[in-house]
């Protein structure tokens, strides 16, 4: 046996990737329910999504505080009682706020679904935002912020988004002590009443469902026009990118590393260049074998890791390269990042590298679609962005067929060092 010869492989382009379809139900009051079933495990995931993200705030921290505090008291139960009735069954009721949406997600064993849904119903339909809980929240969030503000990576993430989008744009707005201080019950209640309504709700369910799942959902979420009908209008807001391009900030004089960020705005997912950039970005800094990682970590040892990412924001995206590098090699790191950009602009990507990245990306999508929880996640991202499976298949097709020439063209258009913001926070 000759160990230097690799075993034969099946090429990724030959893999037939299919996105398992969802089932769609409509509750009596019109709420859409998207379902991906699987009976292999005894677990269930139920996510309720509302257009209640930071996009819609009149004041900073309003969306996140509303989302968080809904779980801290209803007209019938205290925060402790709510937590206890969820945790007793080993279940999790998690909440999250994003730029566009806010969510409540239940994870539980299938056998406990019927006792947990009434608890979830109370949290979603009947929160009272106790003053006491708001005060605890404000105090603890401010303490957490104080700790985070000592971390160079946290500080760098805030600044780079401000440069890209402007500090008043929802994508650039950041938390602050003053923002927390200004929060009041009424502000949360008003936001809640407007955004957490039956006609703005979408439900995504995955896993092993009880036979009467739809009946249960109708009982708890489908039988009334809870919180009334509310029209949420979403208008794009102009971004206000910074005029200066280069920033150096000292956050901690004794810091031994600097957080480096190099970023530029990029068209959103609806633009034809977006899926092409997904491939180019992978080659550039999107996986462990990427050019940035190979050069700056594996060749020079300047950092534990360096990545570039493409934001998935709705209105406008951005390309952002990020790393924490040794204090004395931050500038050298930046120079190498630009060198790699110019290389992509000037020299077509070798066929072998392109084939490798195609295979890597397809293999990775295949792995990502493994299991109902993962599949519903894909569908959710499509549905919430008003897209369908054609978008998914089109992206796969681009991964499989894009040429080195096309990628070089994209690089020439979007990877000129002069177009990037550059930041080091030590």
């Amino acid at each position: 046996m000759n160990r230097s010869i690799p075993p034969a492989i099946k090429d990724a382009v030959e893999f037939d990737i299919s996105l398992k379809p969802y089932e769609k139900f409509t509750l009596d009051n019109g709420i859409p329910v998207y379902v991906v079933k699987s009976n292999e495990q005894d677990t269930l995931q139920l996510e309720m999504v509302f257009p209640a993200g930071t996009w819609y705030e009149n004041q900073s921290m309003q969306a996140q505080a509303t989302n968080f505090l809904m779980k801290t008291g209803t007209s019938k139960h205290t925060a402790l009682e709510i937590n206890e009735s969820i945790e007793y069954y080993g279940a999790y009721l998690n909440r999250n706020t994003y730029h566009e949406n806010a969510t409540y997600t239940l994870h539980c064993l299938t056998k406990h679904t019927d006792v947990l849904l009434p608890v979830m119903q109370e949290v979603i339909l009947d929160p009272v935002f106790p003053e006491e809980e708001l005060n605890i929240y404000k105090q603890n969030q401010k303490q957490k912020l104080a700790v985070n503000l000592q971390k160079c990576d946290f500080v760098a993430n805030r600044f780079i988004d401000q440069y890209l989008f402007g500090e008043f744009h929802p994508y650039g707005r950041v938390s602050s002590m003053m923002g927390y201080d200004a929060l009041q019950r009424e502000i949360l209640e008003g936001f809640y009443k407007k955004h957490y309504t039956y006609n703005n709700c979408k439900i995504f369910v995955a896993g092993n469902l009880p036979d009467n799942m739809i009946e249960l959902l109708n009982k708890y979420f489908g039988s009334s026009k809870w919180n009334g009908e509310s029209k949420i209008q979403r208008l794009d807001l102009p971004i206000q990118p910074a005029e200066e391009k280069k920033f150096r900030i000292f956050n901690d004089e004794n810091g031994v590393q600097g957080a480096v960020r190099i970023a530029r705005p990029f068209p959103n997912r609806y633009h034809p260049d977006f899926p092409k950039m997904l491939v180019l970005n992978t080659i550039f800094g999107g996986y462990f074998g990427s050019r940035l990682m190979s050069n700056i970590r594996e060749e020079k040892g300047y950092t534990y890791g360096i990545y570039s990412q493409l934001y998935n924001f709705r209105q406008v995206s951005a390309l952002n390269i990020q790393t924490e590098a040794g204090r004395d090699v931050c500038e050298a790191t930046i120079a190498e990042v630009y060198k790699e950009m110019e290389q992509l602009q000037n020299v077509p990507i070798p066929q072998e590298e392109l084939d490798l990245v195609r295979n890597y990306m397809i293999g990775s999508i295949l792995g990502d679609l493994d299991g109902a929880f993962q599949i519903i996640q894909r569908w959710k991202n499509l549905i919430l962005n008003d897209l369908d499976e054609n978008y998914f298949y089109n992206n796969i097709n681009i991964i499989k067929t894009i040429t080195a020439e096309e990628l070089q063209h994209v690089a020439k258009q979007y990877m000129s060092p002069a177009d990037f913001y550059e930041l080091v926070v030590i």
Partner: protein
């Protein structure tokens, strides 16, 4: 119930196969029975640095990552105080690529000076990123030194100090490899859309001719029972005062481990847990408080850590924790609360088992503990714990003599 088959190759390599034909993927997991606890005290951080070197090319394959990515695969690895684990996920059709790559690096590494040179720097940056350049980042270095005087858990996996990593030599790397990275000290676990017959054939083909190596018989100095409380005060440039308390608990294979684990859940598992409810919500002494442990194979530490609300005195905060611990020592916990933490374990295990990678990984882990079958018995170990067991365990754990406390003060 996780189904699996198990066999051992002539060279001593233990192989576990977990068939799951509902997925298009496969996982190949190699666990080596060596961790930071096996290091020379003068050369700490070595097991972890070595993990990095495993990606620097092997004797017949100059590049590890590229052929794997070409096969649509991804990989990673981690090192703990107890073990080192490497895993690959890839489309099942290409599983042989994983066998080829993992067997060649078990056969022998390339031992390149260049790779050692670069990875020394990379690990130093990792050290800085996680343990130096973060507020409270030095806490585990300090706590381990405080709590362990004898056992090698007294240093962190990343190493005691940067110089140990900077001074690593290629000859040390070679010696380490041929001592620990041998079939007889490893467990191979393969899961996903594969068959046992196929894995048998592939294991024989790729791993069968690797020299067995010598079985490593671990003989570590165990930590003697602590006879007095250990206390340390730190002043540092952080925004908030913090309090850390660690109590020696039982080893992973001890029956009493399960009681300690449930106690940590009663104190710190979730928003309705005792410490959070009383100290964050009711008394408002802490802005956050947690209770956890690392599940160490040798006797580990049950940890309570929290950040104090500005203006609260350290002594008051500590006293309030003591009150909660005394309650556990004085009163039998209510049946419903015991049932709650058992339900939480049941649910946690079910969610863990959803991922193919976790299943493959855990089978190897339980085989290391003694028998892969223990994975299927794990929940009953928890179910068997009684309220009296918890009561008894709390008395032993929360004896003041068994405590290690760090008062971490904000400067200014």
């Amino acid at each position: 119930m996780i189904h699996y088959n198990k066999f051992t190759l002539a060279n001593g390599l233990r192989v576990i196969v977990h068939e799951d034909h509902t997925t298009p993927m496969a996982v190949l997991n190699v666990l080596y029975d060596v961790g930071a606890r096996d290091e020379n005290p003068e050369q700490t951080g070595f097991a972890h640095l070595f993990e990095h070197l495993m990606f620097g090319g092997s004797v017949n394959i100059p590049e590890y990552d590229e052929p794997l990515q070409m096969a649509g695969g991804e990989n990673n690895a981690y090192t703990t105080s107890d073990l080192t684990n490497y895993y690959i996920t890839l489309p099942a059709e290409n599983i042989e690529t994983a066998f080829w790559l993992e067997s060649d690096r078990m056969l022998s590494l390339a031992f390149s000076e260049k790779s050692l040179d670069v990875q020394r720097k990379v690990v130093c940056e990792e050290f800085k990123e996680h343990y130096i350049n973060k507020p409270y980042g030095d806490i585990w270095h300090k706590m381990r030194t405080l709590a362990y005087k004898t056992h090698p858990y007294r240093w962190m996996t990343i190493g005691k100090e940067l110089s140990h990593i900077e001074d690593a030599k290629l000859e040390d790397v070679k010696a380490f490899f041929f001592k620990y990275y041998r079939p007889v000290n490893a467990i191979l676990s393969v899961g996903g859309n594969v068959t046992t017959e196929q894995v048998k054939a592939l294991a024989e083909k790729w791993f069968g001719d690797i020299p067995s190596g010598e079985k490593y018989n671990r003989n570590l100095p165990q930590e003697p029972e602590q006879s007095e409380p250990h206390v340390l005060e730190i002043k540092s440039n952080v925004p908030l005062d913090a309090l850390y308390k660690c109590y020696h608990m039982q080893a992973r294979s001890d029956k009493r481990y399960y009681a300690a684990d449930l106690i940590s859940d009663i104190l710190g598992g979730g928003g309705a847990s005792r410490l959070h409810q009383v100290l964050v919500k009711e008394k408002k002494l802490f802005s956050n408080i947690e209770c956890y442990h690392f599940g160490s194979l040798d006797a580990g530490l049950l940890t309570i850590e929290g950040k104090l609300v500005k203006g609260v005195k350290m002594k008051d905060a500590e006293k309030a924790i003591q009150v909660e611990l005394e309650k556990l020592k004085a009163e039998i916990i209510p049946e419903r609360e015991l049932q709650k933490v058992k339900n939480r374990v049941e649910s946690l295990l079910a969610f863990e088992d959803m991922s193919l990678l976790n299943r493959a990984n855990n089978l190897a882990f339980y085989e290391l503990l003694g028998d892969a079958e223990m994975m299927n018995k794990e929940f009953s170990n928890y179910e068997n714990v009684t309220a009296e067991d918890l009561h008894r365990e709390a008395q032993v754990l929360f004896d003041d003599k068994n405590s290690n406390t760090i008062y971490y003060y904000a400067e200014n």
